[in-house]
Symmetry: none
Subunit: 141 residues, 4 copies
């Protein structure tokens, strides 16, 4: 038997709160998804004005970051033609996302969940994901 | 050009709040999804203990209720062998849900969104969906 | 609650009329799709001789342009290996199209729909999409 | 944060051993799948002679039993036309299985995984799933 730690709904709420606060600061309404360590969705919010396509993309980024235990922008850097990782972006019917904006959430070196952001540029998405994690770290019980 | 009214994120938050309160009263942790009038997700919460399969089922119920403008339990009643509606439950790759627990949200006769609940019995899911809508009606601005 | 403007069927008909007129001028029978602002199809026409694969591609271009609020050729320019957007072309099961020929339709800065064209070269598709929007602008009530 | 218990690979190996032993006794080569508590596959074996279609069906049964925390034959009993659960069998693209042969695995009342069997009659599949769980209970550390 394995013992696993994973985010709960309160953790997810804090991450969404932090990511949304940064999104408002930069003036980009975002789709924000938080998954557990297996990649299954815990909570999602589409800020008013978030993109419809980003509903799925944000979830897929969070899924990928958690389930593959890797930031999606790291996959992106490796996913170039000629590199043996290339093609991973079509795996799982395209659900494995290599677009920047998905970050794994770690506690003592173990992945406990993932956060995925979409609607801005990848850099904006990444900054909001990071802000969500940092807000959670400051406020968790 | 058409003018459409749809739920915003604050509306969705109120519905989730009301549905979750009822879920706690009956002691069943639920997956709760709220979509806009086109069936696109606005917000989602998996209460701690909600089922993994219900992540998708709740979203599909909300999608169906909003996009088909019909409660999923009404589709269920019509979806019996020999009735010409039978088979609708496999439409859209099974995304069209006929399982009780999805309700359209109406304002002055027009559908503005949908709410879908999953993890309990259909009757429990339906009661939480109704509680979500009623909580929203009492508290909207 | 949000108030949204979206194309109606008469708008979509005008766009198809304009796109088809340009298609006849250049001698390329096209598939022409018009969606609302959420990316859901309003009208579609396959001109006699339009390609079967383009039935889906045209719809995906229109969906992407509307739901992501971005021309598909702009996604194409950003979707190069090493760029953090790379991989977006496989999102949503490949339904997010980065092939030129999808344009968002704007009214006073807000996206009210999308048009997608397929069967010619991307340049031909883009020209027909633009012609559809311009015809609509000249003739809308 | 939540703490979760889930099966490990040694547990899954014991379940497959027990299920396969029963399958040999009744002379039916089976496909045997074991998932963790989130429904993700831990181990799979197709005994020589197991059916190709059962590769997927066994996995879907194990997934459903774990992720929905319910034996698939219980879903089957409820999934009759006119019952509000009807239609659940097409959810998740049909991946939610209501065919007998999937059992959740519980430890102290909590689901820690699922086992799914396919290639025989549902009764044979159910008996092998049960044999797998019992073998594991007898032999786990």
């Amino acid at each position: 038997m394995l013992s696993i730690q994973r985010l709960d709904l309160a953790d997810a709420g804090l991450m969404i709160e932090g990511a949304a606060a940064h999104a408002r600061e930069i003036g980009v309404p975002m789709c924000i998804a938080v998954t557990d360590e297996s990649g299954n969705l815990i909570a999602f919010e589409r800020m008013d004005g978030g993109k419809v396509t980003s509903i799925t993309v944000a979830q897929d980024k969070a899924f990928t970051a958690a389930a593959a235990r890797k930031a999606t922008h790291e996959y992106n850097q490796a996913c170039t033609p000629g590199n043996l990782v290339f093609g991973i972006h079509t795996a799982l019917g395209g659900r494995l996302s290599v677009v920047g904006g998905g970050l794994p959430v770690l506690v003592e070196g173990a992945v406990v969940g993932g956060i995925g952001i979409s609607s801005g540029t990848p850099q904006q998405d990444m900054a909001c994901a990071q802000a969500g994690i940092e807000h959670w770290r400051r406020h968790q019980g």
